[in-house]
Structure formats: C-alpha cells, structure tokens
Symmetry: C2
Subunit: 351 residues, 2 copies
C-alpha cells in the first residue's frame, strides 16, 4: 500500500509471515478470508460454517432452548490436563448440561494478539474441534479479530452455546428443601491448583492435572436413572464454596457439608496445605455440585459412578432449616464451623 | 487473605475501590457476584438474566433459527456516532438481519482490563441496554472476566445473537445471475473514517461520524414490499470492496459498479482524498450491499428510503457474465477498471 495511511495507522511495517498471526490477518480483506479458510475452517469442517456467511441457519428445535455465553482468558494457554480450547468447549457444554440441556451448537470467537504463533493457534483449534466432536456439538458460528502487540495477552476465546432443554428441567436452587442431599461429582480444586502450579512454576512432580472434562454424559446418566434433580452447578470460579453460598442465598436455607466426605486428590491436598489454600475455594472445570431429594443420593451416586468423568462422586452434606450461618462445614476434627465465601480469589485468569 | 498465595499470584496488592474494576471483581467469589448484581445486571433487567444461572431458557421458536457471533475490539471505545457497546449490539443485529432473520436474543461477554474505570463500563452497558431495547433484542446471557493490567486494552466485548429466520430466506450470493442489480443502503466508508480520525486525532471539524446503526428495519421494509432478495451483506471490515469480491467468488460472475453512483459523504470523500484511501475499502457498521433480480432496484430503493437508516440507498451496479476481472468499477472519468481487493487494511481495531 503506497499511501500515507501506512505511516499514520501502522507505526511498524505490517508483518505477514507463515508462522505468526499479523494484524492484516484480522482486517477483513483477502488475507483475512484466506487466513480463515486455511487456518481456522479446516479444523471445523461442517455445513453450517462452510458458507462463511454472517449467520448460520440452525434447524428447528422441538422444544425450548438453553443459551449460554462465556469468555476464556486462562493463562497459561496450555496446562496439564487441558488448554484454552478444550476449556472453552467443556465450559460451554457444562453450563448447558447443568441447566438440563443437551448441548447442540456453539460459537467460537477468537481475539488474537499480533505475533501469536500460528502453530499454537492450530493446536488450540484442533483441541476445540476434537472436544466438540467428542460431545457432538457443532461449531456453527465464529469470528476472528487480531489486535496489536500488547493489546491482548496471546489469545482470548469467547464462546456461546445453544442446547435443547430436556424435560424435566431441574427447577433450580430456589426449590431446595430441608433434607435434600448434596453431592459432588468428583475430587475438588484440581483445575485451580493445576493452573496455579503451571503458571507459577511451583515444580510439583508430577504436575497436578486439571479436571477439565465434559459433564453432559453424567447429567444424561442421572436423567436415565430417573433421579429427581433439584439443581446442578459446575463449580468453576470460586469453587464449591461459591456454589454453596449462591444456593443458600437462593433458597434461604442452611447448607451443611462434611469435610471428611469431600473427595480431594493427594496432589491438591498437598499443594493446598503448603500454600494455605482451601480446595473448596479452588476452581473446577469438570466437577459439579448437585442436590437431590431426601433418600436419592445413593441412586444418584450410582448413576454418576457409571460415567468415567464422575466415577468418584460422593455425598458431601445436606440442606437444613435456616440457621444463622448460610453454609457450614464439619471439619475433619468434628467441629462444625461457618464456611466463609472468599470475597475475591487471589488467582486471576483461571478460565 | 493471609496466605502465601497473595505474594505468589498477586505481585501488587489487589486493588478494590468503587471507581475502577479490579481483578477480584472477576474471580468468581462474593465480590464478582456483587459487582455483577450492582454494576452489570441493572442495565439489562429481564427475566432471563435475573436468575444468574448458567444458561438462559429461551421460549420455543416456530421455525429455523439464525446464530451469529462476533468480538469487538474497537479503539477508541467511544467515537463520534457510537461506542463499543452500540457497535456490539448493532453488529450482531445486522449479521442476523442480512441473513434474513429477525433478531431476538443476544449474549454479551466482557473482557475487562484491571483498572478500567467503572464509569466507562457503565456508559458502555447503558449503551448496550439502550440499543438492544430499541431493536427489541433481549440480552439473555453474559459473562464478565477481568484480566491484569496490560493483558488487554481496556475492554473487549464478545456477542452472540439468535434470530428467527423469516421465510423467504435470501438464497445467498451463489444465486446471483447476470442482470441482477446491486444496491448500497447508504453512503460508504463512514465508520472507518470516523475511527481513523478519532484514533489518530486528525482534527477534522466537525469530526466524521460513524454510520453505526441497525439494519433490521430496512430488511423488514424490503420484505414487506415483497422484494425478491438474492443476498444482503453488511459491509463491515474490508468495506464494500470485500463484499463484492466475496460475492463474485461465490457466484462465479463479474460484478460491475459505477463510481459516480456510489453515495459518499463530503467528509469521507475529503478525508479519503487527503489520505489516499478508497471509501469503498473503508469499514461500515450500518450500511449493507444487496442484490435484487433485474428490474427490482427501483422498488427496493423505494422501500429502503422509507427507513431512516437507509434513506440514501442507491443502485450502484449489476451482475454480468463472468469476464476475466471479478469486480470492476467505472471510475468517474468513464474508464472501467478492475476494483482490487485490499490484501490487508492498514487500519486495525475498527470493530
């Protein structure tokens, strides 16, 4: 471009090579189209994306629909047990699954920093493609933006998801009643500790792995087993503690859990003791809390244990009439204490 | 938090005040919930968002659905004629409208840089709320992430949109036939020039205004007038030139336009002449190209001119049998030339 614009808008010469993403890849002209055709679309070959139109046409759904949206800004992008792409798919799928919906379509919007290695982008896109194929979710829409060096940190992904709500839809935490039983679908705190250890090079051997996994099959197993579900929630940012506090707030009852019954892996327990953290406050990305009516926990746990991702599910407590404290925990020594909600976590960018 | 974590993960003391967004606002605990309740939700009061659940339940739709996704990284966030919030809503609405869908629901995901002024965030959220109310689109899902200072530039917004496809759905650019007429819905290049002038402080008086506007009413007017539409496309990144090249590629015909017939405002013309730019390559955010069968352009233009946003619509050219050149332009002096597609635009972060 022999125009004065080059000097005004591009202080440095635009940098286009085959190894790094450049600003020109995101500016909408031929390079953008070629870039998307060559580097983005091949990962997701499907009839909805192929026309590269402004919107995808989805077939008619028989019933009501669930709609969810999330952004992913995790650092590092690749961590033991997952990466930002897998996280974006499973995070979206899990939000739909715990709402009682079967995941069907999702969108993937990329915000890429100029200079980001194309090889890393390919790894992330392949990871999105593999995860979405595994679930049977179609990536039906997307967008690619490139921002100048320093205006973003590598890669951010925003995703939205659409699912079919399957009857009966869990009524939600306002429906919780005294005697309802609380279940966790697996060991807690794994994602938070994996990210912390990877980002801060804590040197644990072997490195703790994230629990990053889809929960749709577990919810389907509960449904097939005919378990009447009050509510489900994947315990992401803020961990189990935050879910319990949200539920206690929604139902106006007290939720009591028993520390000894909560599954925690040895590496998470060790890291938390060393760092003075509570595994209950650490993020999960493939672990949910659920509540069932009195007497249903054994059947629910049996159904969960039939699915690989939730084979370590356990009953952790119950709902009671409201006492002064919204969430209590019986510590391993037998004393019952308030379980305080962290006001803010000291660990940014976990998802 | 009296834990070693504070030193490991937060090199600076977490900074929570009432004027700036802090990392703790995005970490999922009580502060996040309070922040979203106090600062984000009030802008969007509606039944779908109120439960703050993982997904929103949308009512059943009668027909097939359109689904679109976009990220917005525009700089500056506020510009003459709009801001990133209005852009996010209208950008999403327009992608649905040109696909032949009535916009119904959207999601809004925020990626906020630590230290971003809460007052600016409020302005953006109010702008999203006002724009979505004007269109009748419900913000049904959303997400808020905060990244450390320097990991993003102020604020990025990702949006997804869901609309009802209205029969007959325009068949798309592959259906273009020789003799089809090409129409632009208004003056071209206004958004690109407005952003360029604002970002680079070019000092034009008055400052050029973006065309940032919704196109759903214009598409509805065309539908009501019974215009048989081949295809429509909002001419965003890459401008009119990029749309024409995409269409020429899709149909294998030649698209010829006439420079004298293309509406350009005086300020855009002046700025482009000064800077050596072509208004046809500059981005629009409320201007579309459409194609109608032979003989239909007058009626289509009449319908467009009945809507405020597209009152300056004009016929700009036609589809011909394929010649060597995919897109041609008859310049004002009468000579027909190839209209080359810019490989990359020199102006990043326009949307």
């Amino acid at each position: 471009m022999n125009s004065p614009m080059l000097e005004i808008a591009c202080p440095t010469t635009p940098f286009v090579d085959n190894e790094r993403v450049s600003l020109a890849h995101g500016d909408g002209g031929r390079l953008t189209r070629t870039f998307i055709r060559e580097h983005v679309l091949p990962a997701f070959r499907n009839d909805l994306l192929a026309p590269m139109g402004d919107s995808a046409s989805l077939p008619k759904l028989d019933g009501p629909t669930a709609f969810t949206a999330d952004s992913f800004v995790v650092s590092p992008l690749f961590f033991p047990g997952g990466d930002i792409g897998k996280l974006a798919v499973y995070g979206t799928v899990n939000d739909l699954a715990v709402a009682g919906a079967r995941p069907r379509w999702m969108s993937v919007s990329l915000i890429i920093e100029e200079g980001f290695p194309i090889e890393s982008l390919q790894r992330v896109l392949k990871s999105i493609a593999a995860a979405s194929r595994l679930i049977g979710v179609t990536v039906a829409a997307g967008d690619t933006k490139v921002v100048p060096r320093g205006a973003a940190d590598g890669l951010f992904i925003s995703a939205a998801g659409i699912g079919e709500l399957i009857s009966p839809v869990p009524p939600g935490p306002a429906s919780l009643e005294p005697g309802d039983e609380l279940i966790v679908s697996g060991p807690v705190g794994r994602h938070g500790i994996a990210i912390l250890a990877a980002r801060e090079n804590l040197g644990f051997v072997p490195p703790p792995e994230s629990d990053c996994a889809p929960l749709h099959a577990a919810v389907e197993a509960l449904r097939r087993a005919g378990i009447p579900l009050r509510c489900l929630r994947d315990a992401t940012r803020g961990g189990v503690t935050t879910v319990l506090h949200e539920w206690a707030g929604a139902c106006g009852k007290t939720l009591g859990i028993d520390e000894a019954s909560i599954p925690v892996t040895a590496d998470v327990r060790g890291a938390c003791e060393l760092l003075g953290l509570d595994p209950l406050n650490m993020a999960n990305e493939g672990t949910m809390i659920l509540a069932v009516p009195p007497g249903w926990s054994s059947k629910a746990i049996q159904a969960l244990q039939s699915v690989a991702e939730t084979r370590n599910a356990a009953r952790i407590g119950e709902v009671r009439n409201r006492a002064i404290i919204p969430v209590t925990i019986r510590r391993s020594l037998g004393v019952e204490q308030p379980l305080d909600e962290p006001t803010g976590s000291p660990l940014p960018r976990i998802c």
